[in-house]
């Protein structure tokens, strides 16, 4: 048995070597820290004997650290905001980036296509702080571009940063602007991988562009769409902190539509810095994310066995 193990090892060593960096990364940054999860059930106190000693010898407090997430009305708001925004991001993100990918693949002028692609790709690399200032230059009360345009049409200046009405749309717009360029690349790559003869055959049969998209491109994109969506569903309880903190400039009057789990935890704990409570919040998000991935994968498997992730 041992011999066969080494034989197999030897045969696959190049492949194994390729897996090694990723495996080590996951081990160090995803699996080892799992031990730290016990901090969620501890009132963490420092001791002179280092981290592990402190962790093990801190007082057990059971589920107390989780209470702060569920204790107030805010719990409802932040869960609702987190879920609804992420659902909107997943659905709209999917529709927009697939549409964009199809459009880009249909462009005859490949040089221009590359140019558009790069242009749309660029925002992905900007930090949220910078994007926040972009938004500010549009939405500032006295110097913002938007208020100047409104003034041109005789509309009164808006206090954008103290009126929650439009923020759901602003946030979704900013998110899509920043992210679809990147996600469309994935779809574009798999569209380019589709056998061209399929389209040629369809054209000979007289299929229109739209029919080609519906009957060839979309069905062949289905597996990758499902994988990408399942992965996104797993992160549905994680909000993009920068988007919800930097873009609304941490304006208190907007919290009813901008407060999400991550910003709530940050604001609540930035002064006290209770490690136990922040670990509890992280654990809660992970567990819910895990359950959601399992459930949605189960549903996919019921509907279409081959498309399921596992």
């Amino acid at each position: 048995m041992a011999g066969s193990f080494f034989r197999r090892f030897n045969r696959n060593k190049v492949l194994l070597l390729m897996v090694l960096p990723g495996a080590v990364w996951f081990l160090c940054f995803s699996y080892l820290p799992l031990v730290g999860t016990i901090a969620a059930f501890k009132e963490y106190r420092f001791s002179r004997h280092g981290f592990w000693y402190s962790l093990i010898h801190s007082k057990n407090v059971g589920w107390d650290n989780f209470k702060f997430l569920f204790n107030t009305d805010a719990a409802l708001t932040i869960t609702r905001n987190t879920l609804l925004y992420n659902i909107a991001f997943i659905v709209l993100g999917l529709v927009c980036s697939v549409a964009l990918a199809i459009l880009l693949s249909e462009l005859a002028n490949k040089k221009l296509a590359k140019l558009y692609q790069t242009g749309m790709f660029l925002p992905y690399f900007l930090s949220w702080v910078i994007v926040g200032y972009f938004a500010f230059s549009f939405l500032s009360m006295d110097r913002g571009l938007l208020n100047h345009i409104l003034g041109y049409f005789g509309v009164d200046s808006m206090q954008w940063y103290s009126d929650p009405t439009y923020w759901p749309y602003i946030l979704i717009f900013v998110y899509l602007w920043k992210s679809i360029g990147y996600s469309s690349v994935v779809y574009l790559a798999s569209i380019l991988g589709i056998d061209k003869s399929l389209y040629e055959a369809a054209m000979i049969d007289g299929a229109s562009k739209l029919q080609q998209v519906r009957n060839i491109t979309l069905p062949l994109l289905k597996p990758i769409i499902i994988i990408m969506t399942l992965l996104a569903v797993g992160k549905i309880f994680y909000a993009d902190f920068g988007l919800f903190y930097q873009v609304p400039r941490d304006s208190g009057t907007l919290y009813s539509v901008t407060n999400v789990i991550d910003t709530y935890v940050y604001r609540g704990l930035k002064t006290t810095g209770e490690i136990g409570m922040s670990t509890a919040a992280g654990l809660y998000q992970s567990v819910v994310g895990f359950v959601l991935v399992m459930v949605s994968n189960y549903v996919v498997r019921k509907l279409d066995k081959d498309s399921a992730l596992f």
């Binding site: 048995m1 066969s4 193990f5 197999r8 090892f9 495996a23 080590v24 081990l27 160090c28 699996y31 080892l32 009132e43 963490y44 106190r45 420092f46 001791s47 002179r48 004997h49 280092g50 981290f51 000693y53 402190s54 107390d64 209470k67 702060f68 204790n71 107030t72 009305d73 805010a74 500032s140 009360m141 006295d142 206090q159 940063y161 103290s162 400039r249 941490d250 304006s251 208190g252 009057t253 919290y255 407060n259 709530y264 604001r267 609540g268 704990l269 930035k270 002064t271 006290t272 810095g273 209770e274 490690i275 409570m277």
Partner: protein, 493 residues
């Protein structure tokens, strides 16, 4: 069968990786132990010192020089690690929580909170060490600092000897005051600013009459239990009662005035989300703001802005927990050499040569003496530009060019005139209401800036805020604070 093998392979890889990491930790421990035992012998001890401020290029060079001096005096060398202003609290939380080796660290009411970290066990209790190795500290620094920085009756840090009371002032851009011949002498209350603001608004539409950022809070004569949280106690000492600051008449009146000012355009429209007003101070396009002062602060401000700044008081000079704990040096709970660290702190707070070396660098390289007490920065000082307040006893420092000879006398006088807050020395322990505190903190973030800057109408928003605070459990927090305060008052009669 093949599945089993796959798993075995994975397990093997996991064990290998794990043992590498464990052995890494192990060897680390070994090092610490050996250096620990070395402290008794001739070998000098290295003290690791974490402090706040933008990391400076010449820190290691200067510390090498400092180490020569300290090795001679107390047989210890110094390794200083600086962490930038904005990162300090968060990075220190991680470093301390993970047990990073360190001996001395900066803490304060504002950065890496002193009281809370005492409660979490981050610092060593210093009562015995102070008595044994810190006599110089006890003799030199204002006793108000040592008593005010006690937590539950014990000292956990050495505060820097500097200005003791907190005095709020209105700062004026003197160029504009002169230009329009305004009289600032009668100004003290928020309401009394109105004619000045109105005059500037009318004559200088490009200028922000009342500069403020989102942390601005109108001054009311209360002392806050936790900085910028709504629990407060009235300063006149009539009764030791914890109240919600938003429910006091003083704050209500102040918020009404702020809203009036905001609507009149005296306050920048985006004040509630503005992080800093440095663009205004740089361009000079502001008329007044509020700041905390110390003796001769006008000179510092005028020098750094490049135009004259004058002040008038906006409050009385009050000694509060926040002002006492404005800069503290603590010994880490995991320090391997607490005695040496205390000896060093004692030397730092009493030895002018050492204190100035750490503050200004090497004589002849970073600064030069003009006369016996005054110094001048040289060009190289930009490679070693340290914040003075965070590095120990300020009153040992050489005077800057142009400082009056009696600078530190003025500080001592200022300190002597300060009035102690009725709750000086009381430190609220929020651990029992930690869940409520996070909720209250969130409500505070939601309403605070927009109310305090006058952006929203208090007639509608103030009741809403009070209601939300109640829902978040503020009453429970206040009740807990009150019972702690009563117990403290009974003990300290």
């Amino acid at each position: 069968m093949s599945k089993f093998k796959k798993r075995a392979g994975l397990a093997l890889a996991a064990t290998t990786a794990f043992s590498i990491i464990l052995s890494g930790c192990g060897s680390n421990n070994g090092n610490e132990a050996s250096s620990g035992s070395g402290s008794g012998s001739e070998k000098p001890v290295e003290l690791i010192w974490y402090t706040i401020g933008t990391p400076q290029k010449d820190v290691d060079t200067v510390m090498a020089e400092v180490s020569k001096y300290t090795q001679e005096k107390i047989n210890a060398t110094i390794k200083m690690k600086m962490i930038d202003w904005g990162d300090y609290t968060q990075k220190m939380q991680v470093l301390v929580a993970s047990g990073e080796p360190m001996d001395i660290l900066f803490t304060s009411a504002g950065g890496f909170d002193y009281v809370q970290n005492v409660r979490k066990g981050a610092f060593l209790e210093l009562d015995d060490l102070l008595a044994k190795y810190g006599q110089g500290i006890v003799d030199t620094i204002d006793p108000g600092f040592l008593s005010g920085s006690k937590v539950d009756g014990h000292n956990y840090g050495i505060p820097a000897n500097k200005e003791l009371p907190q005095l709020e002032v209105w700062r004026f851009n003197q160029n504009l005051v002169d230009k329009y011949q305004l009289d600032t002498s009668g100004v003290k209350t928020l309401e009394s600013l109105e004619p000045l603001l109105a005059a500037i608004k009318e004559k200088e539409p490009e200028v922000t009459p009342f500069a403020m950022d989102k942390n601005y809070v109108p001054y009311v004569p209360y002392d806050y239990l936790v900085t910028n949280m709504p629990m407060a106690v009235k300063l006149d000492g009539s009764e030791l009662k914890v109240v919600n600051i938003l429910e006091t008449d003083e704050m209500k009146a102040a918020l009404d005035t702020m809203h009036k000012y905001y609507m009149a355009g005296y306050v920048a429209p985006e004040a509630a989300t503005t992080g800093s007003t440095s663009d205004l101070t740089t361009s000079g396009k502001w008329f007044l703001d509020r700041a905390q002062t110390q003796p001769l602060a006008e000179n510092l401000w005028s020098a750094s802005y490049g135009y004259p700044v004058t002040t008038t008081p906006a409050s009385d000079a009050i000694i509060t927990n926040t002002s006492v704990q404005g800069s503290v040096m603590a010994i880490s709970a995991n320090s391997e050499h607490p005695e040496k660290a205390m000896e060093f702190l004692n030397l730092l707070n009493t030895d002018a040569k050492l204190r100035n070396m750490i503050d200004s660098g090497i004589e002849g390289t970073h600064y030069e003496m003009i006369d016996a007490t005054h110094m001048k920065n040289l060009d190289a000082s930009q490679n070693y530009n340290m914040p003075s307040y965070s590095l120990g006893n300020n009153m040992l420092l050489y005077l800057n060019e142009g400082d009056p000879d009696d600078k530190w006398e003025q500080f001592k006088k200022f300190n002597a005139e300060g009035v102690a807050s009725p709750i000086l020395g009381f430190n609220f322990d929020s651990t029992k209401v930690a869940t409520e505190m996070t909720a209250v903190q969130n409500v505070k973030e939601q309403f605070w800036s927009s109310l305090m800057t006058g952006t929203v109408d208090p007639a509608t928003y103030l009741p809403k805020a009070i209601e939300e605070f109640k829902k978040a459990g503020l009453d429970k927090v206040i009740a807990e604070a009150q019972s702690q305060l009563d117990a403290w008052a009974a003990e300290n009669k």
